[in-house]
């Protein structure tokens, strides 16, 4: 295996995957949801809150708080602190930042949390303050959300590469089948391809089942040294490789690829595995078209072969390419920044063998990717991580 020049993530592990079950609307604050996740982390790891000496948080609905306000709110005294505003790429970024801090001895136990509430007007408020380019050059055109921006991307992708709505539907239908095994998924009804095709149009070609449902919830994990995890008797997950890239391919007139395509070779070189060695893939599924792009950009097929790839594979838990095994955001719900963590936390459970109803048999190594922050006309942030069980 060709080695990469990247420093390996030796002697640092992820432990204690936590999900605070989602609800459609919550009158609680984001701080409440983050607090629930922190409590679940300390309970799950058998530590005290004061043992946490590193903290990293992502949220869209914390109002005027960032991480520092939460340290006093939750009684955390930390020597490493970060607030990560990268949307769906926040989990990968959190892993990259926190793991290096623990490796360097800057912190011993880092809590990485993403949590958001969902009030009836949360979505609107989040959008209003999302970004300057969206304010100036997107919202005036009627969107009031990301649907239209992704519609333009999807439509171009369909025209350029011959993807059909049926291809996207297959992704959504497979994820729904997966979600029916996940007691935390908010979508409880089965979804057929016919239902997907007949669903209400939102912004052509995006229809109802192409869209995630915003909700309230939280996801979290701890990062610590491998020996500390062993002494706490916590099952641990190793990081084989990570990549991160923002604002890649700016000269593409319309987005047809994400940042992963720039660094995908380095990802697998660092991990020391090939794409076909992975037991599962958790893509960031804000829309099926973006999942399809991730199949291409993360090395499973060539650019433009996404439609064909989807047609050739079974994306369910028991299929030949298990994808978004928890059901993904499309069927579980998008708890704000929690959506970034959804795939990573599910990936941890898969390699630990604790995924329960959604467990892929004998899963040992898999990939979780992140994508987000649609700014003006494209998603800027991206990242991916390959995880494996620590032996």
């Amino acid at each position: 295996m060709p080695n990469s020049v990247r420093t390996p993530y030796d002697r640092v592990v992820l432990v204690a995957p936590v999900t605070i079950p989602y609800v459609r609307y919550s009158i609680e604050s984001a701080q409440w949801w983050v607090g629930r996740a922190l409590k679940a982390l300390v309970d799950s790891a058998g530590i005290a809150p004061r043992d946490i000496d590193g903290f990293c948080v992502s949220s869209f609905t914390m109002g005027n708080d960032s991480g520092i306000g939460l340290t006093q709110h939750f009684g955390l005294c930390v020597r490493w602190l970060d607030t990560i505003p990268l949307g769906g790429a926040s989990a990968i970024a959190a892993v990259r930042r926190a793991a290096r801090a623990v490796q360097a001895g800057d912190a011993d136990i880092v809590a990485c949390v993403a949590g958001d509430t969902n009030h009836v007007d949360s979505f609107r408020h989040t959008l209003e303050n999302f970004s300057r380019f969206n304010q100036d050059a997107v919202y005036p055109y009627g969107a009031g959300g990301a649907n239209s921006s992704f519609a333009l991307i999807a439509r171009n992708y369909m025209r350029t590469f011959g993807a059909t709505r049926e291809d996207f539907g297959k992704i959504a239908v497979a994820q729904r089948a997966n979600a029916l095994r996940n007691p935390n998924a908010l979508m409880k009804a089965p979804l057929t391809l016919d239902q997907y095709m007949a669903a209400r149009p939102i912004s052509d070609p995006i229809h109802l089942f192409d869209c995630v449902m915003p909700c309230a919830g939280a996801e979290a994990f701890l990062i610590m040294r491998e020996d500390m995890a062993a002494s706490l008797k916590l099952p641990a997950v190793r990081i084989l490789a990570t990549i991160e890239r923002h604002n890649a391919f700016g000269s593409d007139p319309v987005q047809v690829r994400g940042g992963w395509a720039m660094d995908v070779d380095e990802l697998y070189a660092m991990a020391g595995v090939k794409p076909d060695a992975l037991d599962f893939v958790q893509t960031y599924d804000d829309y099926p078209v973006i999942s399809m792009m991730q199949f291409e950009d993360l090395g499973f097929c060539k650019k433009g072969e996404g439609p064909d790839f989807v047609r050739q594979h079974d994306l369910t838990i028991d299929g030949d390419f298990p994808h978004n095994t928890s059901g993904g955001q499309l069927s579980v719900g998008q708890a704000g920044a929690g959506g970034a963590y959804l795939g990573l936390v599910e990936a941890m459970r898969q390699v630990l063998g604790t995924a329960g109803p959604t467990q892929v048999t004998d899963a040992r190594v898999g990939l979780a990717s992140g994508f987000g922050m649609i700014n003006y006309d494209r998603g800027l942030a991206s990242g991916a991580a390959i995880l494996a069980r620590a032996s």
Partner: protein
Amino acid sequence: MIEPLKRPRRKNPLLRTRLPTSPPRARSRASHGFTLAAAEGRFMLQRCGACGTFAYPARDACPSCLSADLAFVDASRKGTLLSETTMRIPADVHFRERAPWRAGLVALECGPTMVAHLHADCQEGQPVTMSLQLDKSGQAIAFAHPERETPNMTDDKQWREMTADPKFRRVLVTNGRSAVGQEMVSALKAAGASIVFVGLAEPWKPFHGEEALRALEGVQIVPLDVGDEKSCTDLAADIGGKVDILVNTSEHIRAGGLLDRRGTSTVRDEIDQSYLGFVHLAQAFGPAMRFRGADGVNSAAAWVNILSVYALANWPAFGAYSASQAACLSMSHCLRAELRPSGVKVVNVFTGPLDTEWFQTVPPPKVAPRAVASAVVSALKRGLEDVFVGDVAEDIRQRLAANPKALERELGG
């Protein structure tokens, strides 16, 4: 294919009137380069002075070389439509009411891509012509038309939201006594206005063109003395709910400045007719127009002021007149801000000396009344906000932008 716009039926008096809503209003300061362009009907983009790259959206450093030299320059309107979407269920109230709404991504010939509202006849992959328009929030947006003219093009539903087209609308021309007023009436009828009300003060005074004016179809002469607040409120009581476009053709032009006049009686007339007249009209007609900014095909759409370009820079030979026009100009900005939430545009048409009796001794070039009328109709159809008619007005605009102090001396003689 656009279906031709249907003449609206009479309003059902039993139904609630739809109130105006605004598309998203927030914009960065840098983005207001587009506001200036849209107001004047120009297509401009930031171009890096160091490396020549065009940048969009508006920003504070060049994305190619990080230079801060990002002035707005006139740019090619050509582009190609890359991708489009039809929004069926927009989250935003304004667009939700107007759904389905079509927007797309255009690759501009000069480089950047631009999200734009689309004319219904734009097709993916085809060339488009771009423009910058002021939408119902009074902010600039990009609009794409098909490169070639298509039938009933100006009847496009989304285009009509960006303009104040007189077609099928009812217009009040406040003063029919002057040549400009009469040309205005004819031009509006020709542009498809369903009815033109023409204000007449002092009906006991005959005037040139009176017979022709009274003989016009679809033109109704109404009593209106803008200097009298009651005259304005009385007329508004009768027709205020039917005025979709108001064109203020009040005119009171006298030569003279300060020291070559004695006393203030002439100044008083100028203030009375021009400034107070404007105030009276605004207070009388503004509220109903503001209420009806979203009231169907013939919604209230625009308030037009015909101002002397010397409102912007005093010409001492007509110094008192210039000052009264300056007062009107400032008030028009106030009115513009107050009407903005309703989507009703305030249009200022600046003209140099007119080719009429009060500018008789002024050498050419002068502006024919017909040219003023034509410029007003064009401004309404293109959705412009600041218009300069004729060579002198354009000259003053350029000189003022280049060096206002030089212009002050040049006008002072």
